[in-house]
């Protein structure tokens, strides 16, 4: 069964999505479909949407077979040149009543001011434990409190449990206030600018819209694009991604959160329902037959006996229930919080709780069905018991007296002789089915004598997939199943949390320290390095020489450096080191020093000094360290102090940085091997000590001066 054609409250999911869009004021829709494209096309053609006056134009587009992810689809959209303006991107499983025109207006206004605001993501506030919020596939969002710019996105999975969320340090510098939100429902509605498909084209490894694209764009310092969030206060939006969200979205529809898209008003399937007290919906046109239902709608007295009842007589329809047309609910049957399709028969004494039963299904007498989804044309014979979380595919027959364990999945057993006819594309599925058939012996279930069902094993198909990382992990997927509260997973075990998180965090620190040390020492031992390293060195050197010679602008030089850094995957420190050494070497040594030398230094530093801060991160203390290390090994040792002073002049480093550096143990070079390098480094340190003395002297002067403002004092206090 196609996901987008799955009936939700007796209308296909695709109809809900179209209706949501129509409600939001959308006029033209492109439907990108891959598998079963023909089927979707026919459905769209036959639906009310292709009639005149529907107010919406729907164009189905079939993409290539190689399209496996939203990313591929976006690349396909780009190559076809389908969109020429900003567009709204949704998945074919959306149910929403949010007014999108407001979101689009905000997006457009922002685009006018900032060309790089390429995307606005609609998120809906809800509590962490909300039924509609997927626990296994959520995320932590970092938003700027004022502009609601999305600064960082961290996907969170339930299993393996995500315990650490990292926030890049640079963000804290540029944004004084950051909201960290874990209570959003990702509605899957994105207002995208035309650049988005082309970004997908450029980054051919992006698959998922959130985990790859959003995360990639935000963490990249090459793209310089911004993504914003729109936190919807009003309205409802959610995606039906799995059986759990199927359950919760159906419940939300029945309890009218999606108003005005509710069964008794604007039902996307065009059915009409009558809404009764307690959110009960009964079909109007071909009335539901309820056995001696207490309300006045319809009275059904058993035609055979035509007598007053024996014991349990009235059928009982509980709250939050939807019952399709021509469905019969017989004597003593109970239906609670469920959706029942058209032309179904619920036998006498059957009990149905929180379940979804599609059209033309027959439930025998005294059956019990809990938290399950039962497909089209299914027959469940008498006295069967279907426990929570079961999925039963179309056309299955089970019973009588069948007993299913929780989370069983049933489909129709294939008939012998069909095997040979299947064509290539189904081969893979076939192999799965064969495997399952082979395993049938190992699963013991009482399926009843008339059953044609094939039972799918619980758990992952192949054992080696068990340890799959990321959201596709089986234990994580479990949290997305209907009726599964995942209480037996050990994620909330206290011991494991403390021990594991400690381990993880400490190892995290270790690795960070490691990288720092490696890069710091790397400066003095730059001869050690593999081919890529030396290639990077020479590339950077050449690129900077070119920049110096041809007088590039700082921006262009910076972009070039960033690209190089990405291409050879080296740390920021290495780039900074290369830039500093190149700049220092750029300074001509003037014989005799004095004023001409100082002018030369000022000239070079004024022109190129800021490049140090433009390479993708600012770390003045490291800059000084690198400068010291470089000067110590270079013949430009004598002018170290003057270069530092020049950098101080153009604010690449400031006083506090110099002080901080001065206090570092590395700056005194005590760990170094004795030799000229160490001597030189020591000399540098002494030079800086003089400088700091000067600073102190200046400050004490200014302190005596009463005119100094409060700011400086504060700085000093810190």
């Amino acid at each position: 069964m196609l996901q987008c054609l799955l009936p939700v409250c007796n209308a296909s999911l695709l109809d809900w999505t179209f209706e949501s869009l129509a409600l939001a004021g959308v006029q033209e829709v492109f439907v990108v479909c891959r598998s079963h494209a023909e089927q979707i096309k026919t459905v769209i053609k036959g639906s009310k949407w292709s009639k005149p006056g529907s107010g919406m134009k729907i164009v189905p587009i079939v993409t290539a077979k190689e399209t496996f992810s939203p990313g591929d689809a976006m690349r396909d959209i780009y190559t076809r040149g389908l969109v020429t303006k900003d567009f709204i991107l949704v998945m074919g499983d959306l149910v929403s009543n949010i007014r999108l025109d407001e979101v689009v207006r905000v997006h457009k206004e922002r685009r006018k001011q900032n060309k790089d605001a390429i995307m606005t993501i609609v998120v809906k506030e809800c509590g962490v434990g909300h039924r509609t919020r997927p626990t296994g596939d959520s995320a932590v969002w970092f938003l700027d409190s004022k502009t609601s710019e999305c600064l960082h996105y961290q996907p969170v999975t339930l299993y393996p449990p995500t315990r650490i969320v990292k926030l890049p340090r640079e963000l804290q510098e540029n944004h004084p206030e950051i909201d960290m939100r874990f209570d959003f429902i990702d509605c899957g509605i994105d207002i995208c600018s035309v650049e988005v498909p082309s970004l997908f084209q450029d980054n051919f490894d992006y698959l998922d819209l959130r985990r790859d694209f959003v995360h990639g764009v935000l963490t990249s310092d090459l793209l310089m694009k911004n993504i914003y969030c729109y936190v919807a206060k009003e309205g409802y939006a959610a995606r039906v991604k799995d059986t759990k969200s199927y359950d919760s979205v159906s419940k939300d529809i029945l309890s009218r959160w999606t108003f005005p898209m509710v069964p008794d008003n604007n039902h996307p399937g065009g059915h009409s329902y009558e809404h009764l007290r307690g959110n009960k919906y009964f079909a109007k046109n071909h009335p539901v037959i309820l056995a001696r239902y207490l309300s006045l709608i319809c009275c059904y007295i058993c035609p055979i006996t035509n007598k007053m009842p024996k014991k349990k007589s009235t059928c009982n329809v509980g709250t939050n229930t939807l019952i399709g047309s021509s469905t019969q609910i017989l004597d003593g049957a109970e239906v609670h919080s469920s959706v029942i399709g058209q032309n179904c028969v619920i036998g006498p004494g059957a009990v149905i709780r929180e379940s979804y039963i599609f059209d033309n299904t027959c439930i025998g007498s005294d059956c019990v069905i809990e938290q399950s989804i039962i497909g089209f044309d299914v027959t469940v014979k008498d006295n069967s018991h279907i426990s929570k979380g079961c999925l039963i595919a179309d056309l299955v027959t089970i019973g009588p007296n069948a007993k299913l364990e929780p989370f069983d999945r049933l489909s129709v057993r294939r008939e012998a002789g069909v095997t040979g006819e299947s064509d290539n594309k189904e081969e893979e599925e076939d192999s799965d089915i064969e495997e399952i058939e082979a395993r049938q012996g190992s699963i013991k279930r009482n399926m009843g004598s008339d059953s044609n069902a094939l039972i799918w094993p619980d758990g992952p198909l192949n054992e080696e997939e068990e340890e799959d990382e990321g959201p596709e992990n089986f234990k994580n997927l479990r949290s997305l199943r209907i009726g599964d509260d995942v209480s037996d997973l050990d994620i909330f075990d206290d011991d494991s949390i403390t021990s594991e998180s400690e381990n993880e965090s400490s190892s995290e620190e270790d690795s960070e320290l490691d990288t720092d040390q490696v890069s710091l020492t790397g400066g003095s031992e730059s001869s050690v390095g593999d081919a890529a390293e030396s290639e990077f060195q020479s590339e950077v050197k050449q690129s900077l020489e070119r920049a110096f010679a041809e007088g590039h602008s700082l921006d262009n030089a910076a972009v070039e450096l960033k690209t190089l850094r990405m291409a050879s995957n080296v740390s920021l420190t290495r780039v900074r080191e290369a830039v500093i050494s190149a700049i220092v070497e750029r300074i001509q040594l003037v014989e005799g020093g004095g004023l001409p030398q100082r002018q030369e230094i000022t000239k070079v530093i004024n022109r190129w000094g800021e490049l140090i801060d433009r390479i993708g991160g600012i770390d003045p203390v490291e800059t000084i360290t690198l400068l010291q290390v470089h000067c110590a090994t270079s013949e430009r040792m004598p002018i170290f102090g003057q270069i530092l002073a020049a950098l101080y002049q153009i604010d690449v480093v400031d006083e506090d940085d110099i002080r901080t550096w001065h206090k570092l143990p590395e700056s005194r070079a005590e760990d170094e091997k004795p030799g000229t390098t160490r001597e030189n480094m020591k000399k540098c340190w002494i030079i800086v000590s003089h400088m700091i003395q000067q600073f102190n002297a200046q400050e004490s002067e200014s302190e005596e001066d009463d005119d100094t403002g409060g700011e400086e004092d504060e700085e000093e206090d810190e």
Binding site: A22, L23, K51, P52, G53, S54, G55, K124, E125, C126, G127, V128, G129, H130, R131, R133, D183, E234, G235, Y236, K251, S255, R256, W257, T258, F259, P260, V262, N265, N266, S272, H275, L276, R277, G278, N279, L296, T319, N320
Partner: protein, 373 residues
Amino acid sequence: MSPDPPSIPSLRSVEVLASRLRRRQVVGSRDTALETLLVLRQVITRAKFSNIDQLVGIIRAVGRRLVEAQPKEHSIGNIVRKVLHHIREEYYAATGTTASLAHPSGEFSIAKFLSQGQPRKHVLVQKSSEIRGTLREDDPDDPDSFAKGLKPVLMEALQDVLDELETVYDNIAKNAKDHVHSDEIILTLGHSKTVEAFLKSAAHYRNFTAIVPETAPSYSGRDMAKSLSSSGISTFLVPDSSIYALMSRVNKVILGAHAVLANGGMFAITGSLMAATAARAHSTPVVVCTGQFKLTPLWNLYHEYGALDFGNPNDVLGFQEADLVDKVDVVNPYYDYVRPELIDAFITNDGDHPPSSIYRLLKETYDDEDNEL
């Protein structure tokens, strides 16, 4: 009766309105009434018919389509019925079937009640034999001649209905000074345009005080209070919970209606039932201001506790209340059903009426055969 299918362009505008109604992009009884009337005018302008039955059939089909799209906005059906009534009237006038069709008037007299209270069945039976006036129906030579002859008068009749809708607030407000007296304390609810116009008009002549409860969950009372105070009426905005406590000081409760039903009851904004019941407890008169187009030949059969239209629980319980959403069923009715016993008078653009005579107004305004579209 097999009407010609309405031509495509008019059908399109009907479909557009139907989907807008379904999506609640047109709300409020007066707006829906106006939109319906405009669509009907388009339909009639373009319709091809050669006798009255065809025309009535077309309009009924359109009306049915619109009413099905939004059964909760009763003014759609009312306007369709009203237009049908006018069409027949014009038709009888044009064909010389004078019958016993007196113009509906606001005055109440037993004599008229007797003549108009009867079903008009005999008139319709006579019609087919009697009609032969200036207009020729089903003329084989020129099938359009009937339409051509009738359309100008129909347009005029539609224009009358349109004018009535457009001036409805003024006409209701005209008599405001007779109902509001100096130094009275008036309680109203929600943001009814009719009541707003009524009170503002009364403020020209009288000096009175208005009390406006906030009217949760829409809180439209806040807008109402702002609007009233900006036009110089001394206004108090009070929480809904204090309606009963304040009722002893209130001289009159003036409410707006969403629809007035055949038995004299009405659908009105949530909270109206509470206010009306409180008023009854203190024997405070309850007066309802309503346009005549809100008179609906229907009864309230179910939903005794609230009425008709149930909105989004979001207004009552925030979506972010994660723990509660799963455990609590929220009922958020838009309208209350107020029983006729709780209402003292209806002030309409067609005079003032007690609830008990609403059925008579209905007889005058609509034809019986149209009660079911």
